[in-house]
């Protein structure tokens, strides 16, 4: 079973990675000093005492960008299985056009976002 063999190796790499990080953190704990003081544990704010609560004014723009990404990412996932078959016999130009229509709709969405000024900051 090539398939299961391949992915068990991938799983093993993940385990090796976790082990590496564990060993690094554990040995770091042995090597380093631990001298906590109140000042040291303060939140760093360029040298002065922290002001206000731990929240800056954040823009909702970030959310819009990431939603744009999610929409396009779910579009992109269809590109990959499509890429493996579209040139195969029995698919060809029709399949190509189908995908272009699909992407076209989303490109219209991107254009809309552009026109509405979502992609601009100020």
């Amino acid at each position: 079973m090539d398939y299961f063999h391949g992915y068990s190796v991938v799983g093993l790499v993940a385990v090796v990675g976790v082990l590496f990080v564990t060993v690094a953190f554990a040995s770091g704990r042995l090597l380093r000093p631990v001298v906590p003081t109140r000042e040291k544990m303060l939140t760093y704010e360029c040298g002065v005492d922290p002001v206000g609560e731990g929240w800056a004014h954040t823009q909702i723009k970030y959310y819009v960008y990431s939603f744009l990404y999610v929409i396009f990412a779910v579009d992109a996932i269809f590109l990959f299985p499509w890429a493996t078959v579209f040139a195969a016999p029995g698919f060809g130009a029709t399949t190509l056009v189908e995908m272009f229509v699909f992407i076209g709709f989303l490109a219209v969405g991107l254009l809309y976002a552009w026109k509405k000024g979502v992609l601009e900051w100020t």
């Binding site: 079973m1 398939y3 299961f4 063999h5 992915y7 068990s8 190796v9 799983g11 093993l12 993940a14 385990v15 731990g54 929240w55 954040t58 909702i60 723009k61 970030y62 959310y63 819009v64 990431s66 939603f67 744009l68 990404y69 999610v70 929409i71 990412a73 779910v74 579009d75 996932i77 269809f78 990959f80 299985p81 499509w82 890429a83 493996t84 078959v85 579209f86 029995g90 698919f91 399949t95 189908e98 229509v101 699909f102 992407i103 076209g104 709709f105 989303l106 219209v108 969405g109 809309y112 976002a113 509405k116 979502v118």
Partner: protein, 195 residues
């Protein structure tokens, strides 16, 4: 999966796949339980990551290779990030939020437990002697997925693009209205649409 595989790195024997499936399933279930019970909002999102990642492994074990990685890319890589953005923009605190749960959680527990018992009983009764054969062609390779999608599922696929477009426009409209009301006059002429 890995401890089993460590001893027989050549391949996972059929029982190996089953054992792995059950173990990962337990981990997934535990993470899901923590997702719905923890009082710390961001921790809930992170436990959700574990649950969804566990499900990706389950898909892999069911030989649905492509869907497994779609799960990682879409859910772990973007939907959860979206949720975290939502939590952070609504200022999720570090530490417990005492009122993450509502008063009626015992009722909810009752409903969920009753549903679980009924459904598990039905499902086990129905599929007691049914076996999935995982040792043939990989069922969910990207090529197989592509063939079926673009041979048999073209119309829903195209409809999906319209749906995505609608969602995109909807989100932009929502966030723009917000931008105008919060930005207070950045779009000079239109005026406020609310008090």
């Amino acid at each position: 999966m890995n401890h089993v595989a460590a001893h027989h790195p050549g391949f996972l024997s059929p029982t190996g796949v089953e054992i792995t499936f059950v173990l990962v399933g337990l981990a997934t279930l535990g993470a899901a339980l923590l997702t719905v019970t923890t009082r710390q909002l961001v921790h809930a999102a992170l436990w959700l990551v574990v649950a969804l990642g566990g499900l990706a492994v389950e898909y892999l074990l069911l030989t649905a290779e492509f869907i497994a990685w779609v799960q990682v890319l879409i859910y772990v890589g973007s939907v959860v990030v979206l949720l975290l953005f939502g939590l952070m923009l609504t200022k999720a605190p570090i530490g417990r939020s005492p009122d993450a749960d509502s008063e009626n959680r015992w009722v909810a527990l009752g409903v969920a437990a009753a549903a679980a018992v009924t459904l598990v009983w039905v499902v086990v009764d129905a599929f007691r002697s049914t076996w999935v054969d995982l040792h043939g062609v990989v069922q969910g390779s990207s090529h197989a997925t592509g063939e079926s999608l673009f041979r048999h599922w073209v119309l829903p696929f195209e409809a999906l693009s319209v749906l995505l477009l609608a969602a995109l426009v909807g989100a932009i409209v929502l966030s723009r209205r917000d931008g105008e009301s919060a930005g207070a006059g950045s779009t000079s002429g239109t005026g406020k649409e609310k008090s």
